[in-house]
Amino acid sequence: MSGFHLLEPRASTFASSYDWLFFTMVVMCSVVAIGVFVVLTVFSIRYRRGASVDRTPFSGSSHPIEYAWTITPFLIFLGIFVWAAILYAEAKTPPPGALDVSVVAKQWMWKLQHSEGRREINELHLPLGRPVRLVMTSEDVIHSFYVPAFRVKQDVLPGRYTELWFQATRTGEYPLECAEYCGTDHARMTGRIIVMQPAQYATWLSRGNLAPSMAAAGEERFRSLGCSGCHGANASVHAPKLEGVFGHPVHLSDGRTVIADESYIRDSILLPTKDVVAGFVPIMPSFQGQVSEGDLLELIAYIKSLANAAPPPRQR
């Protein structure tokens, strides 16, 4: 029974704004609940059988009071809805310049990789005071990335990316848990988030395995899978060039325009005929089954690293 506490630590920017709303609600709901219980008790005692009180039936119209207790809760609910919605929108909108970490979940472990290349399992080292954005996917069933101390949670789905962001405000170790039931060892799919001072983090990042950065690994894969044969600078095949694409709008052959984000790049690799870029013929083969989730994230990191490169002149 060690370490019993009633207040969960607040270790992210979101946690403090979350707790404000949470405890406001606790106070408000307690007032209502206690109010109802007090009135119930008072009525129960005052109008108990045998007591000598005025029991002449209530004769006036019940409508005014009923409208009152219909409209008042509704207005209060509306207020809570808006407050919560604002926080939710904020929690769903990663700020620019966030540190990217890739997360691949599988039964029953978390595989994480920093964009600089360092890999971790069931542990995530993070710098204090810097927004961190996780791009997450699953290799099998649905999992859920949950850090109670940060008050954040996001399901991790197979076949697509979900994202989650937060900014740690206190150094220390915080539990990471899988919140969506995922089979036998669901309860053991846990880990630690280790929040460090930025300097320490930088040291930590440079130590350990000297893996190439995700973008570099992705570039290597880009060549070995043959992507560069068509998308490379000197390719003769008529394929879209990938410099300066990521994060920018892409015009599609059916007239739609999408922003080239992780999900778009993922779909373009796995389902190349789904969203074809305007002016190109859908000749690219699907890489479904040939690349693992980890490979994909590296390829995306590479394409992302080209985001600010100047697009070469179009050869049309």
Partner: protein
């Protein structure tokens, strides 16, 4: 005992003829280059046909309003299912691009 309504034969035949005419109309619409609206137009014709069948062959025209409400309820609830689940599938984009 109330007498049940007897619909004249020609009403049934007229409804039948109208339905048979709407089928080629539907097929024709499907070939028109209306872009995204083709599916909409085709299903609109489908809805017209369904209303014809329900009004005449299923006698909703002569039924009590309660029956009409029950007949509509299934479709109405299906509309709940469609609108609200599509409110997810059609809007799975970010609020604002963070770049």
């Amino acid at each position: 005992m109330q007498s049940r309504p007897i619909t004249p034969v020609r009403t049934y035949l007229a409804a039948w003829a109208a339905l048979l005419l709407l089928v080629p109309a539907m097929i024709g619409l499907a070939y028109l280059p209306l872009g995204g609206f083709t599916a909409l137009a085709v299903y609109a014709v489908g809805a017209m046909e369904a209303v014809l069948v329900m009004r005449y062959f299923m006698h909703l025209k002569r039924s009590s309003s309660l029956t009409v409400v029950f007949a509509a309820a299934g479709f109405f609830w299906l509309a709940f299912l469609f609108t609200l689940s599509l409110s997810d599938f059609m809007t799975r984009t970010r609020i604002a691009p963070p770049w």
